[in-house]
């Protein structure tokens, strides 16, 4: 892979710098499973039980003043069907935020509905995965983390990653 700018030997994370993932799902069981899947892939995980809590965590809730200087989130995984706010609505809120829009968002759903998938991809989702998540999905998720981490460019994709 040609990389003109950097003298970085690799795109791997330091073990001190584990990627941090925010996982949003209203099912306690699914939160446990995804947490384990991600921790086994050497990620640090924060879970939220709904969109509202997720936005509060990200500092994007109504009435909050964004103060993200020390908040580092490398990826957000959200269930689609949640009470109150769907995963799609959460995705839109994140993509509308000047500070959070670069964070890759993966949407998961137990239902394989093409219009739903298109809606999420057009809304800016990195990927749409079917539940239940499996070990092979962990590899895909790691891929999204790797693509977007580049310390020289402040954590965003390198020039050659843009379409």
């Amino acid at each position: 892979m040609a990389s003109s700018s950097s003298s970085l030997p690799s795109m791997e994370f330091d073990f001190d710098e584990k990627p941090h993932v925010l996982a949003v799902d209203d099912s306690f069981i699914d939160r446990k499973v995804i947490e384990r899947l991600l921790i086994n892939s050497t990620c640090r995980v924060t879970t939220a039980e709904n969109g509202k809590r997720a936005l509060e965590y990200l500092g994007l809730a109504d009435g909050q003043h964004p103060n993200h200087s020390d908040l580092k989130v490398n990826m957000i995984i959200t269930d689609y069907s949640m009470p109150g706010m769907t995963g799609y609505e959460l995705l839109k809120r994140i993509k509308e935020s000047p500070t959070m829009k670069e964070i890759p968002v993966v949407v998961v759903s137990s239902e394989n509905i093409p219009t739903r998938i298109n809606q999420c991809m057009e809304g800016g989702a990195q990927e749409f995965l079917l539940k239940p998540l499996q070990l092979s999905d962990a590899t895909k998720l790691r891929c999204h983390l790797k693509k977007l981490h580049n310390p020289l460019q402040g954590g965003f994709a390198g020039e050659d990653e843009h379409a």
Binding site: I29, D30, K32, R36, P132
Partner: protein, 152 residues
């Protein structure tokens, strides 16, 4: 007292039976593979959560179907949850009944829903017993100093 090897053989046969009869599917294997020495109780914890959650949902479903005016959206929401959690642990037969159950909800078919409730209670009770038996067998193997590797 059975030897470790005999117990391990029993576990292999028992789990094969559960997969063959459709009680469990590959998702159960996926869960087992997420478990390791640093989290040796992961599967039991998740399955226990499934038991608690299912029992709560089955109670709610029974209540909802007894109402004068049946709220099919509420019932569908409960069944959707049960379908999701059974799918997450690999309880395939429970999940399958839930699919039919949701169809009856959509049709607002009270008899269909009632039949499905009985069916799902039955399937839940079966898979619960079988998983408890499986876990007991695993415990015996570990207590006797044996090891267990999934998938079997």
């Amino acid at each position: 007292m059975d030897s470790v090897v005999q117990l391990q053989r029993q576990l292999v046969d028992y789990s094969a039976q559960l997969f063959n009869e459709g009680f469990l599917d590959d998702q159960f294997n996926q869960l087992q593979q997420l478990q390791d020495e640093s989290n040796p109780d992961f599967v039991v914890e998740v399955v226990t959560l499934f038991f608690e959650d299912s029992e709560r949902l089955l109670d709610e479903l029974a209540k909802a179907l007894e109402q004068q005016s049946v709220d099919y959206r509420k019932i569908d929401a409960h069944v959707h949850q049960l379908k999701g959690s059974s799918s997450s642990i690999g309880a395939q037969r429970v999940q399958k009944v839930c699919i039919g159950f949701r169809n009856f909800c959509e049709e607002r078919n009270i008899e269909g829903c009632q039949k499905c409730l009985q069916q799902v209670k039955h399937e839940y009770s079966l898979v619960k017993t079988k998983l408890e038996t499986l876990f007991k067998l695993e415990q015996k193997i570990l207590a006797a100093g044996g090891t267990i590797h999934w998938p079997m």
